[in-house]
């Protein structure tokens, strides 16, 4: 995946250099099994053989409907899965497998190498502690002196775009607006100087006007600070705006992955195409988005063969019985569709 260079205008030459180095994080054949609801004996495979790479200073978008396993994948990356979860496959951080690492080793990485920001910034902040205390916690716990922690907290809040950080630092979360809260959460995630930031629906709970500002902030963290990011979203526009690489997930599996431009403009999976078509175009008056037909398959209730076949316009007999293996259809673009060539051919048809 490191071979193709995405063409984002804001990317600096420094970031390009870093991108050529081996990936920070390599996910291969990741499996997450959760105990069934109500603690029953049936086990649900919520993430089923997911593979992708996260090169340094690159943003990878993880997209899919709810129940596609994208959040569980992110939680598995940082090692915060629900009780009773079982994992399989490989998760290589700078070459070393995380799934077989000791809990202490994984904990040492958390916050310092891999940090996470969450969907609902109000819920993600402790209501009884000041912003400064929460942002500075990781620094304080690593034994930095008080005034240094304070100085750094103000720097971090400033970097995350909190206005008047020296005064606002002593506020409580409920005294912040939604956008400011997410900025505080981002400052908190940056406190441990991580190399990878996992962002789980970072703008979903925010007002539309605030969303774009937060996305711009995330972009600048990657472009200017060289942070790698895994951005989990159900919103194609968010991913298109920020991510160089996109992984499309469906029912716990990867449907397609590749450079964002290719994935969005030349989808190699009917599910991706349907997702793209379901986004309403704002500028054209006629465009009424065509919603995806059928209901999303869930990992607990996954159809045989290709999980997308009941909703797929191209589906035939083979799709019901044979699970398509993921394969490279163009440089860096991988698909799990038996008939991807056909799909891309259709796209090129002048009609």
């Amino acid at each position: 995946m490191t071979t193709r260079m995405p063409s984002h205008a804001g990317r600096t030459e420094a970031a390009r250099q870093v991108t050529r180095q081996p990936s920070l994080l390599e996910v291969s054949g990741l499996v997450v099994d959760l105990p069934g609801p109500s603690g029953g004996p049936e086990i649900v495979r919520v993430v089923d053989g997911v593979s992708f790479d996260v090169p340094a200073a690159t943003t990878v978008g993880l997209i899919g409907e709810s129940g596609s396993g994208k959040t569980m994948t992110a939680n598995a990356l940082i090692g915060l899965l629900p009780d009773g979860a079982e994992t399989g496959g490989e998760l290589r951080w700078r070459g070393a497998d995380l799934l077989t690492a000791t809990p202490a080793r994984r904990r040492a990485l958390r916050g310092h190498e891999i940090a996470m920001i969450f969907q609902d910034p109000l819920a993600a902040l402790n209501p009884t502690q000041t912003i400064a205390r929460q942002v500075g916690e990781i620094l304080r716990r690593s034994g930095r002196p008080r005034d240094e922690v304070r100085r750094r907290v103000i720097e971090l809040l400033d970097r995350a775009g909190v206005p008047d950080p020296a005064t606002r630092a002593d506020s409580y979360p409920h005294e912040f607006s939604g956008g400011l809260r997410q900025r505080a959460v981002i400052a908190m995630a940056l406190a441990g100087s991580p190399a990878l930031l996992l962002a789980d629906e970072p703008t979903t709970a925010l007002d539309v006007t605030v969303q774009s500002r937060i996305l711009r902030l995330l972009r600048s963290l990657q472009d200017d600070d060289g942070l790698a990011m895994v951005l989990v979203s159900h919103d194609l526009r968010v991913v298109a705006h920020v991510a160089q690489q996109t992984v499309v997930m469906y029912a716990g599996r990867v449907a397609e992955r590749g450079p964002t431009n290719e994935v969005l403009h030349r989808p190699a999976h009917p599910y991706t195409r349907a997702l793209v078509q379901s986004v309403p175009a704002v500028r054209t008056r006629t465009a009424i988005a065509s919603p995806l037909p059928g209901t999303p398959a869930t990992p607990a209730n996954r159809p045989s063969g290709c999980a997308f076949h009941p909703r797929c316009p191209l589906a035939r007999e083979r799709c019901k019985v044979e699970q398509p293996l993921i394969r490279e259809i163009a440089a860096g673009q991988w698909t799990a569709c038996h008939y991807a060539e056909e799909l891309q051919g259709v796209r090129h048809d002048p009609a």
């Binding site: 915060l80 904990r107 990485l109 940090a115 209501p127």
Partner: protein, 309 residues
């Protein structure tokens, strides 16, 4: 903050007036004529009428009520006819023993209850959790007087390591304090457990873990204080309720506090004492409630803001 205190104090005055009125009514409604009880079975009707007049009990009810309210404002509840001393000072004199008992019980309940609740709530469904829950339910179900007697049988009668009654040494305090503390401990443990378990499911707990904190750091640094907020309320309210439990415990263990004084006073129709003691207890409960509110608002910044606005 000051506005909150003033507001609560004003409400408190109303509450105390209500409490004084209820006390007045209950004492009058209770069966038995006070004068004849005081004088005993040998008194003739003239003596009874004389005492009734001296106590002011022959006047119309509203006159009695108004003069009673006037006395209440001056904290003058008359004399205890049996002890021959002023009622309120007599009650206050016995209060320190009760306070000692209550503080010891609260300390036991908070320390033991919090620890058990925290251990259980940190891992819901674990063996620890189930054991703590079972013990809590058992402790809450046993009646106080029965627990007191059982403890006397075990530690005073069978093992002979603790005194069964009276006061005077720290050893004397152990059995009554533990008896009074047991149901309270169970309440604190159960509530702490529920709140900790609930708090541990909050998103900010996941945030704390994502910073690389250990489970212990997450529990003590993020979950504990937030789970304590509802516990503080219950501890505060329950401390008022302990006064009630103290009445029973003090009688079982012959502890020289207000509780045993009240029981004596009630069975002897000693109006002055009953009214003084009951009024004092109402006042103490009110103060506990006020302090609880203030502590609560200090623990939860969201409430602090509401109080100021």
């Amino acid at each position: 903050m000051i506005r909150l205190i003033v507001k609560r104090l004003l409400i408190g005055v109303l509450v105390m007036w209500g409490a004084a009125s209820v006390i007045f009514l209950i004492v009058r409604v209770a069966p038995g004529d006070p004068a004849s009880i005081m004088l005993g079975p040998d008194a003739d009707s003239e003596q009874i009428a004389d005492l009734t007049a001296r106590l002011g009990l022959d006047k119309p009810m509203y006159v009695q009520y108004l003069s009673y309210l006037g006395d209440v404002v001056r904290l003058d509840f008359g004399d205890s006819y049996r002890l021959g001393t002023a009622a309120m000072p007599t009650v206050l004199e016995r209060l320190s023993a009760t306070a000692e008992l209550m503080l010891a019980s609260t300390a036991i309940a908070v320390i033991v209850g919090l620890t058990l609740g925290l251990l259980a709530g940190a891992r819901p469904g674990s063996i620890t959790d189930r054991v703590v829950s079972a013990i809590s339910i058992a402790l809450q179900s046993f009646p106080t007087f029965w627990v007191g007697i059982m403890l006397i049988l075990i530690f005073a009668q069978a093992l002979r390591i603790l005194p069964s009654a009276g006061a005077g040494s720290p050893l004397h305090l152990i059995l009554p304090a533990v008896t009074l503390a047991l149901p309270f401990t169970a309440v604190v443990a159960r509530l702490t457990r529920t709140n900790v378990a609930e708090t541990m499911r909050e998103a900010y707990i996941q945030t704390a873990r994502s910073k690389g904190l250990s489970e212990r750091q997450v529990l003590l640094g993020h979950a504990l204080r937030n789970s304590l907020i509802p516990v503080v309320t219950v501890v505060g309210l329950h401390m008022g309720g302990l006064m009630g439990g103290a009445v029973v415990v003090e009688n079982v263990f012959a502890w020289p506090g207000t509780g045993s004084l009240i029981v004596d006073a009630v069975s002897n129709r000693d109006y002055g004492l009953v009214q003084a003691a009951t009024f004092l207890i109402a006042g103490i409960v009110m103060v506990f409630n006020l302090v609880t509110d203030l502590v609560y608002s200090q623990l939860d910044p969201r409430i602090r803001l509401d109080g100021a606005s």
